[in-house]
């Protein structure tokens, strides 16, 4: 299919639409300038991928619904996964910038990063 075929079909569609129902004709203006470019999409996809796992979503909700901070030791049992698996998932959340990690003594404490959550939310609206 080349661009001339495309144009021909668009005109045919527009004509038939006008004749039959006068419905919306959005064809022939396929891509607007405010669409995501490949680089933006790559970065955003990486962030959304951090939310694309049920275990990580629950871990994140444990962090966001807590009063400020949560100890890593309190995430293993409620998540129902092994300690290495929880550590793996928390690293993904931290790398995505959704959660901040702070080591104090033997323990690691996590807290949410509202700015990053806001950033992702703004993409959906």
């Amino acid at each position: 299919m080349d661009v001339f075929d495309n144009l021909r079909y668009c005109f045919a569609m527009a004509a038939s639409t006008l004749i039959t129902l006068a419905g919306p004709v959005a064809c022939c203006a396929p891509v607007r300038s405010d669409a995501l470019d490949e680089a933006q999409a790559e970065g955003l996809a990486r962030s959304f991928a951090a939310l694309a796992d049920p275990v990580r979503l629950r871990l994140l909700s444990f962090v966001t619904s807590s009063a400020g901070e949560v100890c890593a030791c309190d995430l293993v049992e409620p998540s129902g996964r092994s300690q290495p698996t929880v550590s793996h998932h928390m690293k993904i959340l931290v790398d995505a910038g959704l959660v901040a990690r702070e080591k104090r003594g033997l323990w690691v404490w996590y807290r949410a990063v509202p700015a990053q959550l806001d950033a992702l939310r703004s993409v959906l609206g």
Copy 2:
């Protein structure tokens, strides 16, 4: 590690924190009731997974940034993927409820579903 070990460490942490800095002690209240359960997390993860691919994000942006509707034939070239691949990705977006599909004659038209985008956005706040 059992629950008694956990309690012992929490008390030790609380004590040392009070002695040294009187910092926040969020331990011993690990899981709040407003955390996601497994079923909710499963469904949300499936929706976010639809956004976890750069090609799908761009396809979605083509739809949302258009004036109402976009023809499937106008998605192949700007996405830079083959026609079967675009069809595959659009099916995932439709199954996730983010995009609505309507066949008119030979063509298929897509439009965004704002309600579903709102639902996902509310999870992040």
